[in-house]
Assembly symmetry: C2
Homo-oligomer: 362 residues x 2
């Protein structure tokens, strides 16, 4: 097998040791005589996986007792709908900091079921090329919550500070950068993240909920959509996607073995520095459309002098075993998603390729 | 590896050839140099899997052009909420035929967001031990839809006829018996089914929707929960659980290789006959609490003379490599879930064990 270097934005590359581990016991989970995916979600074998996954999250993100780890389905997109349905009272509004397509969708869904407003934007000349600073935020102190997207996969921007929202609970969509660095969970009312970028395969959403906020889930919402139900049921109120949780557990073990969230941050900065360094050192050929202070360490994006050159660049990279670098269809250009699982040595190989390409085309 | 015989109600046993196939290409999907779970849900590799899965459903269930195959997340439990939210207008009521815990939950969720009523029941002396006949149904001709559960995993009952509901669209929760036999899809407005019993692993829900019903999805519902969104987006409006769909495809290929839905019905009747035969031939030891005409060919349930004997029976079965036969905690007794994937030879082995146990204890 020749393994390619996969820069896809998500579903994304996973650590090879994690895949190999799952592969080894796929047909016979821990000697039980069946696959993990055949085990009942209420049986002892899965129960251990479930518990360990929660414990690993608590340890790796240093989650305080005030918060609980929940699992849901439907990805961040379902949360765009469920956050306001659970946390916003009928007479209340909610604040949304706008930094890209995902904030746009989150706000749009929130407006369908009640009041919601923009509380700051990273838009410059019609494009989301930066992260607004704290002083640029326009927060409503009566808002049900304030929502932001920590990292923006399409635009290649990322928050490098935590917005201060006073008494208003802070809600964060961390789908594309959860566990890329340490965070102070106590500052958040709710963190949610689809697993398929930094945590595992598609099909499971992780929530870290300040438990008192579950009291807000209204009786008018179907029970299966209430955070209070998920919290009370330990995320097992109905059948949970057992394989997805199992793979997340395996990824979390791998993160722990490598040194945890701090080690991930060092690893991710090292990779991002390689790519941004290449861009900055070749300003005549590469151009990053993102404001320097807002650059993402998860999804560096850049442009080449022409779209024609970008096409050739993508094709030659694929030929050299590096795939998934085409920018999102809405913005074009090149995007290199370098989530936790991406090896620094693979980014080095890509940077070597890109530099040689620039030299050849220059 | 010693493979056990797994009678779990779901997640449930899967065909060994399907597991082995997935195992073989887990690290390198079709020579692409990465696992299927690392592929983008918008890439060519997954697109082929997605399309083939839909085509296989169409072929195996002979789905007419009026209907479309959709994939969602959240299991049947999410559909308990979403069916009324999508299909019922504010002034309308919906009909529910009551046959067990799952109908109870479906009705309960439907009542949270509007009007819904019982339209027949299988309850006898407080227990759901039978399926009501067509003439016992009390249908509202103005209902938004009429809902029923085709097979009841906990009580071991199953519909062996399709309720006639006139102009009112028929909605069926087929989570535990989809593809166990041929069906006439044209009779249904909507069929939905969690995959984790007859179709694959947990984490994906299959919907077969009469396309015109998508027009009912209201603007007041968040877009991600509208059937109209899922239909328009070919179930790819957001990241789909690619691995779960892939496993379903593999199971459908296996069903097709074995001869399709008719072959599944023969296979399932053969297995059910073995178990019910054993019960009926040993009436002093085994007792099936279900009315004969309502017996499930998916989840035969039965009792032994005492709970003490049931405990011993379960323990000795496990010792002999047969697990997951403990009845649901709400009803007790023995339950043998014999979904499509269960091999007739394994049911024979179980029946031999059970007969020997009866003889030894008698």
């Amino acid at each position: 097998m020749t393994r390619v270097i996969n820069f896809s934005a998500g579903p994304a590359t996973l650590p090879l040791p994690v895949l190999e581990y799952a592969h080894d016991e796929f047909l016979d989970f821990e000697g039980t005589g069946m696959s993990l995916i055949e085990h009942s979600h209420r049986g002892a074998a899965y129960a251990k996986v479930h518990e360990e996954t929660k414990v690993l999250f608590r340890e790796l993100l240093d989650i305080p007792d005030t918060h609980e780890v929940l699992f849901m389905q439907g990805g961040a997109s379902a949360q765009f709908a469920l956050v306001p349905m659970n946390l916003r009272a009928p007479a209340q509004s909610a604040d949304y900091v706008m930094t890209g397509a995902w904030s746009d969708k989150a706000l749009s869904e929130a407006k369908i079921t009640g009041d919601a407003r923009e509380a700051g934007t990273g838009k410059v000349d019609g494009k989301y090329t930066r992260i607004p600073t704290q002083s640029e935020l326009d927060l409503d102190e009566n808002a049900a919550y304030a929502h932001y997207t920590t990292n923006n996969t399409i635009m290649g921007t990322q928050f490098h500070y935590v917005p201060q929202t006073g008494e208003v609970p802070l809600v964060a969509d961390m789908s594309s950068d959860i566990l890329c660095r340490p965070i102070d969970v106590s500052k958040y009312g709710l963190i949610y993240a689809g697993a398929q970028k930094n945590l595992g395969p598609a099909g499971i959403t992780i929530l870290i909920l300040r438990k008192d906020l579950a009291d807000r889930s209204p009786d008018t919402l179907p029970k299966i959509f209430r955070y209070s139900t998920i919290l009370a049921g330990d995320s097992l109120q109905n059948t949970i996607p057992t394989f997805a949780v199992y793979m997340v557990r395996n990824v979390l073990r791998w993160v722990q073995d490598l040194g945890g969230a701090s080690a991930m941050e060092r690893r991710n900065r090292e990779k991002a520095d390689l790519i941004y360094g290449m861009i900055d050192e070749n300003p005549d050929f590469f151009r990053c459309p993102v404001e320097r202070e807002s650059r993402s360490i998860m999804n560096p994006v850049f442009r080449l002098p022409t779209e024609e050159l970008e096409k050739t660049f993508i094709a030659e990279a694929a030929h050299a075993g590096m795939v998934g670098i085409k920018g999102h269809r809405s913005v074009g250009g090149i995007r290199t998603s370098i989530y936790n699982a991406m090896e620094p040595s693979d980014v080095e190989r890509f940077v070597d390729f890109a530099k040689a390409f620039a030299k050849g085309a220059g």
